[in-house]
Amino acid sequence: MKMNFKFFITKESILTGILLILLVLGAFLTVAYGSWPIEKSHLFKIILMKLKLFTGVVNEVEATIIWDGRMPRLIVGGLVGISLATAGCIMQGIFKNPMASPGVIGVSSGAALGAVLAIYMGLAARSLIALPICAILASLMTLVLVYTIATSRGHTSIPILLLAGIALNLVVGAMTSFVITLGTREFDVGRVIITWLMGDLNNRSWEHVYIVLSTTLLAIGGTLFFVKDLNILMIDEETAANLGVNIRFTRNALLFFSSLLTGGAIAVSGVIGFVGLIAPHIVRGLIGTDNRKLIPIAGLLGAVFIIYADLLVRLIVRVDLKIGILTSLMGGPFFLYLLIKHRKQFEYM
């Protein structure tokens, strides 16, 4: 019997396969290398033992370094990449604008302000979950505020939402700067705030994993529930209404999920730029605009991007370069290159 494999050889499957290979390789490198040398054979034994698939003896110190040090860092990095890329897909879909990202309606700035306040007020030093909670709450509060401003008589205007987002970005950004100014009086606090604002995956723990995992699962689950409606919304609102899409509810829900993803990611990693803008762009250019395929693959690319950026920062560069700076340094020029090369193509939305 002759099997037809053509079904499997699609652009999506090839891209997914490549990204999965890169993800596995990146994950291996992240877990295998660090300042404490660990033999590769020990590495697999430790992981298998932690997964209850091996019952032999392993070095306790090495097991703790891998399982409680490197693994949380890897998983947090991956989940942050998935969250930011998914949030970017949602925003670009809702606003029908390839330049849209979680930052445009002030959600990222709100999360940053919440986190900076948590550091300044000393809450972050007292409890590990204080900073993430403050960041998520502040991002949701910003979303509610910008949405309230843009909604009149039950109708939410997209242009007003964008403009209100720009204005709130400025206001919240100024407030963050003010807190930084207050923080720099206490040199140590100022340094922590600035480091955090540049993105940081240093010393992530399982608690950070649980926080970002819960926001990611909840928001991605919700987004996938509305993903068909998002595709229809991207055509135009009239068509969407004719096809029975509850436009207001769908848009609100998707904006909420996007904010949750952004807040959750920023809460555990600090501000990491460009992933939400670039990952959806690259994937959309390769496989098209269907969000059912775009969101998972862009998420995968986001995870790969963050994991490799972190590897570069941690193992290769080894100076005080922060991951947020690196993603912007790599992402910015690449984004400009794409814009110049595909000027026409980016007018499709």
Partner: protein
């Protein structure tokens, strides 16, 4: 040898635990503060103004981790009588060697006990200006403003415009540079004898502390862990404090020059004997709870100590207080 009740041995600042220190802390602080009185009567009255002072101006370029040294000469027209220090360390030095009526104002950090050892006295004495209140500084009509490397060019420019004389002291940090600056400040303000007396007091106290230190087979390895996981290296006052008490600053030992951020895995591989964290930072609890660090010597033997930030930021003769305190912690029960 004295007992001193401080919160340094406690995770909670409210608890007080006794620490054995080489020297009495209050006595040492008084000695380092009251030098002006000790040198009284020895002052030369035949000094002729203006005076020319030749000195080595030292700056530290943190980008390349190198010191730049340059010989400079400055002419002081008359004995300064309205002096403003723009940094905590300079205020502490002036407080010790200069008649206090000649110090006309202090910056806000000098009145903050988190930063300054004479904060209470400064608050009482006043007036206090905020670091950016250049207009207020000009309004005090000083005839000399002492600036340091972080005073800023805008501040300098404003003083220039107002024709207010200023003196840029350059780098402060190590015990050597602090002693050099004390002598220079003494020359600039015409209080050389007091300055020399203060340096002698520093040397005497340092020698007293060092004589009391136990002889160990290998020196204790101490690491200062600041918020955000930052570690001071070779070019830091913490390194200088460690040098005074014969301990090894692990950051410097591992090749860190100024400050760098490290992860807990690196910290474990460095495996310090003792970790010092600032009081109130919550870092002790964080480090003690970290699973990776649970294998480090410092965590295993509960050798993470909190020290008030003022002891770690010091850039004046009071670095001896920090050395005295750190010696008490590092050589616990070994005097």
């Amino acid at each position: 040898m004295v007992w001193w009740a401080v919160s340094v041995f406690s995770a909670h600042a409210v608890e007080k635990s006794p620490v054995i220190l080489p020297l009495d802390m209050d006595g040492l602080k008084t000695e380092l503060t009251m030098v002006r009185g000790m040198a009284r009567g020895k002052e030369k009255s035949d000094r002729v103004w203006p005076v020319k002072v030749t000195y080595e101006h030292e700056t530290y370029d943190f980008r390349d981790n190198v010191f730049h040294r340059e010989m400079k000469t400055v002419e002081i027209e008359k004995k300064p009588s309205r002096i403003i220090p723009h940094a905590v360390g300079v205020a502490e030095i002036l407080w010790a060697i200069c008649p206090r009526e000649r110090i006309v104002a202090f910056n806000e950090f000098s009145a903050d006990p988190e930063f300054c050892f004479i904060a209470d006295a400064v608050k009482k004495r006043g007036p206090v200006f905020k670091s950016k209140q250049t207009e207020l500084v000009i309004g005090f009509q000083p005839d000399l403003v002492f600036m340091v490397f972080y005073s800023g060019s805008a501040f300098r420019e404003k003083l220039n415009q107002a024709k207010i004389p200023y003196f840029d002291l350059g780098y402060f940090g190590t015990i050597g540079s602090i002693k050099k600056q004390i002598l220079l400040i003494g020359k600039i303000i015409g209080e050389e004898e007091n300055a020399e007396e203060l340096v002698k007091t520093i040397n005497r106290s340092m020698s007293k502390i060092q004589k009391m230190l136990p002889v160990l087979d290998s020196p204790k390895r101490v690491l200062y862990y600041d918020e955000g996981g930052y570690i001071p290296g070779k070019i830091s006052n913490f390194n200088s404090i460690c040098d005074i008490i014969g301990a090894v600053n692990v950051g410097g030992e591992q090749g860190v020059k100024s400050w760098t951020q490290v992860d807990n895995e690196t910290l474990l591989s460095w495996n310090p004997d003792i970790i010092i964290v600032p009081t109130g930072s919550g870092l002790k609890d964080q480090l003690m709870a970290d699973k990776v660090l649970s294998y480090s010597n410092a965590v295993k033997h509960n050798k993470i100590y909190e020290i008030p930030g003022v002891y770690l930021r010091v850039d004046s003769q009071f670095i001896l207080l920090s050395a005295n305190l750190l010696a008490g912690i590092v050589y616990e029960n070994e005097f």
